[in-house]
Amino acid sequence: MNTHKKHGFWHRFFFSLDHKDIGFQYMLTIFLMVSIGGFFAYVFRMHLAYPDMKVPLFGLVTNKDYNMLITNHGLIMMMWLALGMLLAVAGNFLIPIMIGTDDMAFPKLNKISYWFFLISVILMIASFFMKRGGFGGGWTMYPPLSVGDFGYNTPYKSFADRFFTANTFVLLAITFEFISLLMGGINFFVTTLNKRAKGMTLTRMPMTVWMINIASVLFMFSVGPLIAGAFMLLLDINVGTGFYDAYRGGDPLLWEHLFWFFGHPEVYVILLPPLGFLADIISNNSRKPLYGYRFILNLTLIAAILSMMVWAHHQFVSGIDPRAATIFSIFTIIISLPFAGIILAYIATIWKGNLRLSLPMKWALGSVTLFTLIGGFTGLYLGAAVFDIYAHNTSFVVAHFHYTLFPTVIFGSYAAFYYWFNKFTGKELNKFWGNVHFWLTFIFFNGFAFPLFLLGLAGQQRRIADYRQFEFLMQDPLPLYRKIATISAVILILSQFIFIINFFWSMKKGKKVSSENPWQSNTLEWQTSSPPPHGNFETYPVVYHGPYEYNHPDREKDFLPQNEK
């Protein structure tokens, strides 16, 4: 049983079928992508604060460079970091072990989806080195900008000239990534439905498993039209069709609709898995049952359906039908209700709990606070067309966007990292440097994103490389705000190295975990050895309880593992 053979490097990183190994492969790939995306952010933030400076490690930023940097920063962070980390990594590591099974339903399909992901990463990186330079059409890839440097009139000489452009490569990369995530999502869904341990009914599953699954299904239904649309855009670039060319009866607005029909549900696709982590972490660290399990679940399902009816609020200034704008405004504001309910349920979980301010809990609280108080509230403003038309292309939107995504994606992922690290490596992360990392990230994230609100309200546009032609942007406190934002962003990026070093150092030389269940958690992943062997469990666990039975009045211990009678 469980002859835990040591596998060589090639086996572990290329051919392993074990879900934890594949999750680790995804994670390393994503670390690579994030460092590229973070570097890009550093370069254009420096350029924005000090326009004439030669940015160290990059040089002078031309306008074209700026477009390329900002586009690829957005693409990498949205598509590879957020979707990859929260669906692929979290799903691979957590789903099989949390529902008490040995592996995915289709381990080979899982492997293939990683390879597709790797291809997408290679294509994306290759796109930086094309003859015409990296892709600079905005991360939303609106045509005609994404068709070529001069739209539909770009003078391409031959098919090779069209094909070996960053535009084609980025589109192909995204298509490959979507295929990878679709295969992964089908795998998660089937695993969850068909491979649960004995006694693990649907309502005994941890919230994380629910949320990743809902997110995967939501992803699957929203991405379809965009895959068709990306195919059409590829034809527009490479064959010369005119699907989005107004001169030939096409409509650039069509792409915007297709993109946001995916793009807005995607925001919820990457919001739901962190909400799942938060449910587990907050309930565990408050030593209280999660408040309203079914309530949260129903609200999530309602939000998932509503999220497909709100997409056009990204297009209020794109010339959509104003009557439609009203409807989309209303739905956008309605969708904040289910999420308010979920956050209230989390607060009710904390209420009168026996709080443990452990590192994951700090990240979780930081996430809830920033996401609700600032990210969510400014979302209400921007959801209303009347305000959005004023603020749309300013850095107000950038700030809002970072206040929603950073607390969920980054803080949520870190909460999960600090929570599950001891499980999957059998080592402990260094607490001191963990605390330093948390406080630096928390403070300097605010230092970076908050000034952007003020800049945006003052009129700083978000897509303009050289703003010095606008005198009102050079008036006093604004340059200072830009500098605060930039310096904070640089420190924010640097402080992530603390985590990376802590992560790899602890993995190699960290303290061995003192017990299998250091957080005294109920869920199944803590009821096996750390790190879990291939196949996860010595014997399949049998589940008797829900995942959140903390402080049960009949028990001596304040927790009750799911597989304990």
């Binding site: 040995d102 439905l193 341990a197 107004a246 001169y247 607005l253 029909f261 997409w311 010595e538």
Partner: protein, 115 residues
């Protein structure tokens, strides 16, 4: 791959045997009705009123698709979950139609180029 650890352990999730847990309709009957419906749509396309053609042809397509789904793909015997999945797909498409309609059908951006 070493799969010894699965031996002697059971799942509560009892999956029915892979074969034959659903009924088998008379496939030939379904096939013939598909052909008849197909003939109807081809004949209808010879009419002159485009609106009637559209509705007849589209209705026939829907019926044909449903027949294939229900009997050839055995959807009739599948659990509620599959119906919900397909329903969600249709719902997503309905949202897409409603969202796109005002901006594509009601708006004319294309101007006939002069000369």
């Amino acid at each position: 791959m070493n799969t010894n650890y699965t031996q002697g352990l059971e799942h509560e999730v009892v999956v029915p045997s892979e074969n034959d847990y659903h009924g088998h309709p008379n496939y030939l009957k379904v096939y013939i009705s598909l052909l008849v419906l197909f003939a109807i749509s081809v004949v209808a396309s010879l009419l002159h009123n485009p609106l009637i053609i559209f509705f007849v042809v589209f209705a026939v397509s829907v019926i044909k698709g449903t027949l294939v789904l229900l009997y050839f793909m055995h959807l009739k015997w599948e659990p509620l979950l599959i119906w919900i999945l397909l329903g969600l797909a249709l719902m997503a498409l309905a949202f897409l139609i409603i969202g796109l309609y005002p901006d594509i059908v009601l708006t004319h951006r294309y101007v006939v180029p002069k000369g």
